[in-house]
């Protein structure tokens, strides 16, 4: 099968890869680049486990084709911590016990990051609607929502 050469920036690094026309960004990340932090819960855009940030916007990696990515800028969970310093959202998820099995966590963290970048001071309801595309079957969302709200407070404080 013919493969296309694609050059993209992933977590700040320029990455060159080849992919076939049917491969999604999720396939490229997991199968070819072995970046397993982006999860596959459905492959059809319904669970949010594969959420990554593409050119500043959150997307379901399972709905984006690999060949569309030439020149793109992609942020995945592997790039969220800076070195070994966790992002405030990651810290707050640990503090608030906002994960149980953790399979939804990478996607939810990236969605929350994108949400707070757009809306640094969201209400509970805005957080809930912002995360409505990310399924979590374990937590009932309570601690996730609290963690995001608390991270927002901290991130606002550290900016001002």
């Amino acid at each position: 099968m013919a493969r296309n050469l694609v050059t993209a920036t992933i977590n700040g690094d320029e990455v060159e890869f080849t992919c076939s026309t049917e491969q999604t960004l999720l396939d490229v990340l997991r199968e070819d680049l072995h970046m397993m932090g982006t999860k596959n819960g459905c492959g059809s855009g319904d669970c949010g486990a594969c959420t990554v940030i593409l050119n500043g916007r959150p997307v379901n990696a399972c709905l984006v084709l690999g060949v569309e990515l030439d020149g793109a800028n992609i942020e995945t969970i592997e790039g969220m911590a800076k070195g070994n310093e966790l992002h405030p959202l990651q810290q707050k998820f640990l503090d608030h016990a906002a994960l149980q099995c953790g399979i939804c966590t990478p996607g939810i963290l990236l969605m929350a990051k994108a949400l707070l970048e757009k809306n640094p001071d969201p209400t509970e309801s805005e957080v809930r609607f912002g995360l409505a595309g990310n399924l979590c079957r374990c937590t009932g969302y309570d601690k996730i929502v609290r963690a995001v709200l608390d991270a927002a407070v901290e991130m606002r404080a550290s900016k001002s």
Binding site: E22, R30, H34, M35, M36, G37, T38, K39, N40, G41, C42, G43, S44, G45, D46, C47, A49, T76, I77, E78, M80, A81, L86, Q90, F93, L94, D95, H96, A97, L99, Q100, C101, G102, I103, C104, T105, P106, L109, E124, S125, V127, R128, F129, L131, A132, G133, N134, L135, C136, R137, C138, T139, G140, Y141, D142, K143, I144, V145
Partner: protein
């Protein structure tokens, strides 16, 4: 144990909010789940599934698939051993290897849409997917049946010609979809009803619901020429997977070594084998590792949901609220093979109450759907839906408060569950009192809102657990258990070990070990892990403490009896002897006798009963019938919350699963019994914007059978949720609701009918 007071104020770690040991790997994407493993040289496998709900397989021709470029092997049921049917007497849980074999790969018949027929291993998943389409199967399509009541009728299409209903008199002459009838009871039901001032009789139905774990099933099998196999899989119990695979494939157990991946949710749905034996056979045939990952639609079509049910119930009470009699018949869908949790349903209906006269019968009914699997408190939520709904109606017809009627009939220490288990120290009254005194109970409601209440009962399990704890030279301790960590158990194990030793939790590293390195451990299921495996951790750590005391005795040359273990160090009352810390002792151990370890292999009993009561406010949109939960409070006797964060998390997650069960989730089949909603878009689980915060009120009535009072927490919170939500809807619209899910069309229809009756 070091003198723990029952109020828990003396604990250093128990009951504290600490970060979990596996947290950093999970927030950074480093944790490896079932689908995150790559083995060099591996092949990719896919499974061909039946498009028919019920059909005879006339022939399977795999020749074209085998000839396809990149295909390395094809398996069908001919490559998997068959086994004889299990014979009576039947236990409460039936593990029948004939059924398992037929479910793993269909033999003479396919029994549901999605039933596995053949497996293909190829050099890529794309090739495997293409190759399964080349397998030619000839079917003779048979009539199907989906509903348990329909399936119980004498003229229903029969799934298994060999199945005659067990437990009925006279013995049946014709095969039936009803595998067995399980009964329970006490007293004299007729007399009980004769003494009632009021009798409520109702029918309830509930739909099958899926566990909905976000991580699909995935495994990698690596077979070797010496007949050994390494299996990587996402499971709630790798020791059980090993036992099942060995038995099914007639292999030596010790030759199969199973490593449990991190698990992305299970809720009972990952207690079984599906693709694992197929992957093992394909690996044996090819001599290469074989990876098998289910798609989401395969998960919905072919893995087990909870039973759908139909219940007829009748309860009678005196004017003062004393319930005098109860009788119930429940039809539980087993799916394609026998084994729905009827016994648990029966146990759940009335065991929270002191009703003197009870008769309960449960029908285990095969239908053309995937075989049911456990789902959080299997059999209980649907039973509670009927029993609690009926009690709520009794209360309202008697003009009684919903909590008061339960208090009037509540079980206390010394009373018995329906199956005759005598209650020890239980917290039911404490839970009910807490509900009444809580502000939510009497808070005002807005327009179109209603408040619901229900109670749930669960008898926890204990069982087999093994633990191995190793003290290292630097004083840190590796604690290995055989239980996959599904919701924070490593955190609880670490807390209990540190509490016993009196050391910092960071000095303890908990891990989940593979089946080659540990004694048998049963599933992470039934809320047993913190209770049973926790007990084994405590035993193992105590063995270490004893060995450290002996080491100190040797060092000080005094009798070991004089040495106590306090706050992480060996002490003696003698003047002039300075206490030795864990670290100091660890450093001298290897030079003074050898490494120090503790281990424990137990069958833990006495987990005891737990109760969860729920208050929920919903708002019903009168225009659309859409129900929105606005406020939710769960009151639960948790025994002792070792890690309160994860106890609350279990409660919140269980309640929200119950909300989904009550309001949205159901399977949609077409007229050919093909499943239509095989994805999360149409199988609508609650999302963040569907639910409010879930307040968890923890009531701690310690379980006397556990060193720290643990009872288990995961199952109870789902049990009362569907009943509580339905009750809230009833109170909002003033109409009784007896059929789940309470989806908008159903609620709207009820509102309109109620309106029409008024007009």
């Amino acid at each position: 144990m070091n003198n723990k007071d029952s109020a828990g104020t003396n604990f250093k770690w128990v009951g504290k909010r600490t970060r979990r040991p596996d947290g950093p790997d999970k927030v950074t994407g480093r944790a490896r789940y079932g689908d995150d493993m790559i083995v060099p040289g591996m092949l990719h496998a896919k499974i061909l599934r039946s498009p028919h709900a019920h059909a005879k397989i006339l022939s399977i021709d795999t020749s074209k698939a085998r000839a396809f470029k990149g295909v390395k092997a094809v398996v069908t049921s001919a490559d998997i051993p068959d086994h004889p049917l299990t014979k009576p007497p039947y236990g409460p849980i039936i593990t029948d290897f004939h059924d398992i074999s037929c479910n793993v790969l269909a033999r003479e018949k396919v029994l549901y849409d999605g039933h596995a027929i053949a497996g293909v291993a190829a050099t890529s998943e794309r090739i495997a997917r293409a190759a399964i389409k080349l397998i030619e199967v000839e079917y003779e399509v048979l009539p199907h049946v989906l509903d348990p009541l329909e399936a119980s009728k004498p003229d229903a299409p029969v799934l298994h010609d060999h199945q005659y209903t067990h437990g009925v008199d006279p013995e049946p002459e014709k095969p039936s979809n009803v595998f067995r009838v399980v009964t329970g009871g006490r007293g004299d039901v007729e007399k009980g009803f004769a003494g009632a001032d009021i009798i409520v009789e109702r029918e309830f139905s509930s739909q099958p619901v899926h566990q909905g774990y976000i991580e699909p099933q995935a495994c990698i099998a690596t077979a070797s020429e010496d007949d050994s196999v390494e299996l990587w899989t996402t499971t709630q119990g790798h020791f059980v997977i090993r036992a099942f695979c060995a038995r099914l494939l007639n292999m030596d157990m010790a030759r199969i070594r199973v490593t449990a991946s991190e698990i992305g949710g299970g809720f009972g749905g990952k207690n079984n084998i599906y693709a694992e034996p197929v992957a093992i056979r394909l690996s044996q045939m090819t001599g290469r590792p074989v990876r098998m990952v289910m798609s989401r639609s395969e998960v919905f079509r072919a893995t087990g949901p909870a039973s759908g049910t139909h219940t007829r119930i009748r309860m009678g009470a005196k004017k003062d609220g004393t319930i005098t009699a109860a009788e119930v018949d429940i039809y539980n869908q087993a799916g394609a093979f026998k084994g729905s949790p009827v016994g648990r349903s029966i146990e759940t209906f009335f065991s929270a109450y002191t009703i003197e006269n009870i008769r309960a019968s449960g029908y285990d009914v095969c239908v053309n759907r995937p075989k049911v699997a456990a789902y959080r408190a299997p059999g209980a939520p649907m039973a509670a839906f009927a029993a609690e709904g009926t009690i709520n109606e009794l209360a309202s017809r008697l003009g009684m408060d919903a909590v008061d009627i339960r208090m009037k009939n509540a079980v206390r220490e010394g009373d018995q569950s329906l199956s005759g288990i005598k209650y020890g120290q239980i917290g039911l009254l404490d839970v009910l009192e807490k509900v009444k005194s809580h502000e939510h109970y009497s808070a005002p409601l807005g327009p179109n809102q209603g408040r619901g209440f229900a109670l749930g009962y669960w008898m926890h399990g204990g069982g087999l657990s093994s633990v191995s704890a190793n003290l290292l030279d630097d004083g840190t301790i590796a604690v290995a258990t055989g239980n996959p960590d599904i919701g924070g158990s490593r955190s609880s194990m670490r807390v209990m070990a540190a509490e016993e030793l009196g050391i910092d939790i960071e000095m303890i590293k908990p891990i989940v070990a593979d089946t080659g390195s540990m004694g048998y451990s049963h599933l992470t299921a039934g809320s047993r892990t913190t209770f049973a495996t926790g007990m084994a951790v405590i035993n193992a750590v105590r063995e270490i403490i004893d060995k450290l005391r002996a080491l100190a005795a040797k060092k000080w040359e005094i009798p070991v009896e004089e040495i106590t273990w306090e706050a992480g160090q060996a002490e003696t009352g003698r003047d002039g002897i300075k206490a030795l810390s864990l670290k100091e002792l660890a450093g001298m151990a290897t030079k003074m006798g050898g490494p120090i370890a503790g281990h424990s292999e137990i069958n833990a009993g006495g987990a005891g009963a737990a109760f969860s009561a729920q208050l929920v406010d919903v708002e019903v949109d009168p225009e659309t019938g859409f129900v929105s939960p606005k406020r939710y409070t769960v009151f639960q006797d948790v025994g002792r919350a070792i890690s309160p964060d994860y106890v609350e998390g279990q409660i919140q997650g269980g309640a929200v699963q119950g909300i989904g069960w009550a309001l949205n989730e159901e399977y949609v089949y077409d007229d050919q019994a093909r499943l239509q909603n095989t994805g999360f878009l149409d199988y609508r689980m609650p999302v963040a914007s569907d639910v409010p915060m879930i307040d968890a009120v923890l009531i701690e009535v310690p379980n006397p059978n556990h060193p720290y009072g643990v009872r288990g927490v995961g199952e109870p919170p789902i049990i009362s949720a569907p009943a509580a939500v339905a009750n809230a809807v009833e109170n909002a619209i003033g109409i009784t609701m007896s059929s789940l899910p309470l989806s908008p069309p159903k609620v709207l229809n009820a509102i309109e009918q109620g309106q029409a009756e008024k007009d």
